[in-house]
């Protein structure tokens, strides 16, 4: 906008201002939560104080057995998401580039997409038990649709003039795909992956909790809530799951901005 050259000082000042706002915001949130929980509208056994939850979070983050649960959740999430990417990106490119396939398959995607993945948890338990495979398959199912949807539409909506120009210059279909369709669809595909990443985390934790899986943050929450209702541990576990989600989202947003920053000249990625 202003000068091309942004000097380091100004960049640093902007960063400091953002950091200050984030810290202030988090502090306000925490203090508000502390005040509300200290009013004890409900007894603290049911709704523990914010500081108790925070203390419990620090304790949990130093507990190796809890960290193993976090790792188990992340593993199922990562494998499921990777599976979904490996399936839906090639499939989406295939569907998006062929007009008849696009016309035939998009109604099916539109039908399958709104099926709530959690509805498949009972079926998943029957078919694959309560362990790692069930979680991975449910995550893969849930995260396939946003990626597939975004890939298909990204590839399908490539500027036709660009493609025709490339063809006029004698590029083969594979080269058109590699040089034009994929680069122009890549931001859409990445948005699909970002959406899927946060959906996937919700689905893993939900599946762990609802299917009483053998490991993971969700099964930890189920365990502490059913054994004497330790609500501070329940909330601490949920909050850590939330922090993991924020971290994943922040990392992916950063990658998005670095790779496809040129697309967001008008504003930040949604």
């Amino acid at each position: 906008m202003s000068g091309r050259i942004v000097d380091a000082d100004r960049k640093y000042a902007a960063f400091a201002a953002t950091a200050a706002r984030v810290v202030a915001g988090v502090l306000i949130f925490f203090l508000a939560a502390e005040v509300v929980t200290r009013l004890e509208i409900v007894p603290p056994i049911y709704l523990p104080r914010a500081s108790t939850v925070l203390y419990r979070m620090f304790a949990l983050l130093q507990d190796p057995s809890f960290l193993r649960q976090v790792l188990a959740t992340l593993q199922a999430w990562g494998v499921g998401l990777t599976l979904a990417i490996l399936i839906s990106v090639p499939l989406g490119v295939l569907i998006g580039t062929s007009e008849p396939a696009y016309k035939m398959v998009s109604p099916i995607i539109e039908f399958m997409r709104p099926i709530p993945s959690v509805a498949l948890i009972p079926l998943g338990i029957l078919l694959w038990g309560q362990g790692f495979p069930m979680k991975v398959i449910l995550v893969a199912y849930a995260t396939t649709w946003p990626i597939l949807f975004n890939t298909v539409y990204g590839v399908h909506d490539v500027d036709p003039i660009a493609i025709q120009t490339a063809r006029c210059f004698g590029l083969r279909p594979a080269a058109v795909l590699r040089n034009i369709s994929l680069p122009s669809a890549a931001p859409f595909i990445f948005t699909g992956i970002r959406i899927s990443a946060s959906i996937g985390l919700i689905v893993v934790v939900g599946a762990e909790l609802l299917a009483s899986a053998d490991s993971g943050i969700g099964s930890y929450i189920l365990f502490v809530s059913s054994s004497g209702g330790q609500m501070d541990s329940v909330l601490a576990g949920a909050a850590i799951a939330g922090l993991v989600g924020v971290a994943i989202n922040a990392i992916l947003a950063r990658i998005d901005r670095r790779l496809f920053g040129w697309r967001y000249l008008g504003g930040a990625p949604a």
Binding site: R21, V22, A24, G25, V26, I28, F29, V42, Y46, L47, E99, P100, K103, M104, V105, P107, I108, E110, F111, M112, R113, P114, I115, P116, S117, V118, A119, I121, P122, L123, I125, L126, Y153, D157, S198, L201, I202, V205, G206, L209, L210, G218, I221, S225, G229, M231, V234, L235, G237, A238, A239, A241, G242, L243, V244, G245, V246, N249, G267, A270
Partner: protein, 281 residues
């Protein structure tokens, strides 16, 4: 592209065109269902009953009532309607809370900057992880389920309302101020219309989330609802009943999505026209 003759001058060509467009729209889906039917009857897996059996059972469950109840079976009144009622009340509650709050926060740059990290965090907390807390605080009645749906689906609306309100063209606002438009007129005539596409996108995402949370809430300590029916059938090993529930949820999801798109198209028609091109979701 196949050109579709729209006049009745060529009835045969018209009919052929209709058949062709129907075949491309639903052909693959029908083929897949037939394939499933064929494979299921051949292999005879108890986990995947054939579609005809599911359809038959679904008719038994939901369409076997007396004529004075429009032929709706007991299942509709026990499970389907309570589910839909909870889903809609949770979602409407989320809209009623998230939309005004989002616009309010979005109008102040300071407030939205300060609240953003906390809101991002709250959005990232998986809804199912909070079920134990919700049960302890609100019991196991419908109130708890509606509250869980509302809590889980409010974030996309809230965040999109904030973002949409913040992104209003400052020039338009300053022009309005220069013309001395009162505060409420600026809000209703400039801020809200400009933020509307964002708000609708958020409402759509949150509707999908609300369906997920409806099912999740019914899988725990529940006595009725579609989710409860699915889980109960799984425990009693009534696999056809379980599939009925899954198919019903798929249809419900589709119907709500379709309905929402209709409303959205109507509400955003002027905006699409102004921008020249419809925004992809």
């Amino acid at each position: 592209m196949n050109r579709k003759p729209t006049s009745w001058a060529h009835p045969i060509a018209y009919a052929l065109g209709m058949v062709k467009s129907f075949a491309t729209r639903f052909g693959l889906g029908i083929a897949l269902v037939i394939l499933w039917q064929f494979a299921a009857t051949r292999v005879g897996s108890i986990f995947f009953p054939p579609p005809t059996e599911i359809l038959h059972r679904a008719a038994e469950l939901w369409l076997s009532g007396p004529p004075r109840r429009l032929f709706l079976g007991d299942g509709v009144f026990q499970d389907v309607l309570p589910s839909i009622a909870r889903l809609l009340s949770g979602w409407v509650l989320a809209v009623l809370v998230g939309l005004p709050l989002g616009v309010l926060i979005g109008r102040s740059r300071m407030a939205s900057d300060l609240l953003d990290p906390s809101l991002q965090f709250l959005r990232a907390v998986p809804g199912p992880a909070l079920i134990p807390i919700f049960i302890i605080l609100l019991g196991t009645e419908s109130t708890m389920r509606v509250a869980l749906i509302a809590f889980g689906s409010v974030w996309p609306i809230l965040l999109n309302a904030i973002e949409g309100t913040r992104a209003v063209d400052p020039l338009q606002l300053e022009t309005a101020r220069a013309f001395r438009l009162p505060r409420h007129a600026r809000l209703w005539r400039i801020v809200l219309p400009a933020a509307r596409p964002k708000i609708f996108a958020g409402m759509r995402v949150s509707l999908a989330l609300a369906i997920i949370l409806m099912v999740v809430s019914e899988l725990v300590a529940s006595t009725n609802g579609i989710g409860y029916r699915i889980q109960n059938s799984q425990i009693m090993f009534l696999l056809t009943d379980m599939w009925c529930g899954i198919v019903l949820l798929a249809l419900l999801g589709c119907a709500l999505n379709w309905l929402f798109i209709k409303v959205e198209n109507r509400a955003l028609a002027w905006h699409r026209g102004a921008r020249g091109r419809g925004a992809a979701s």
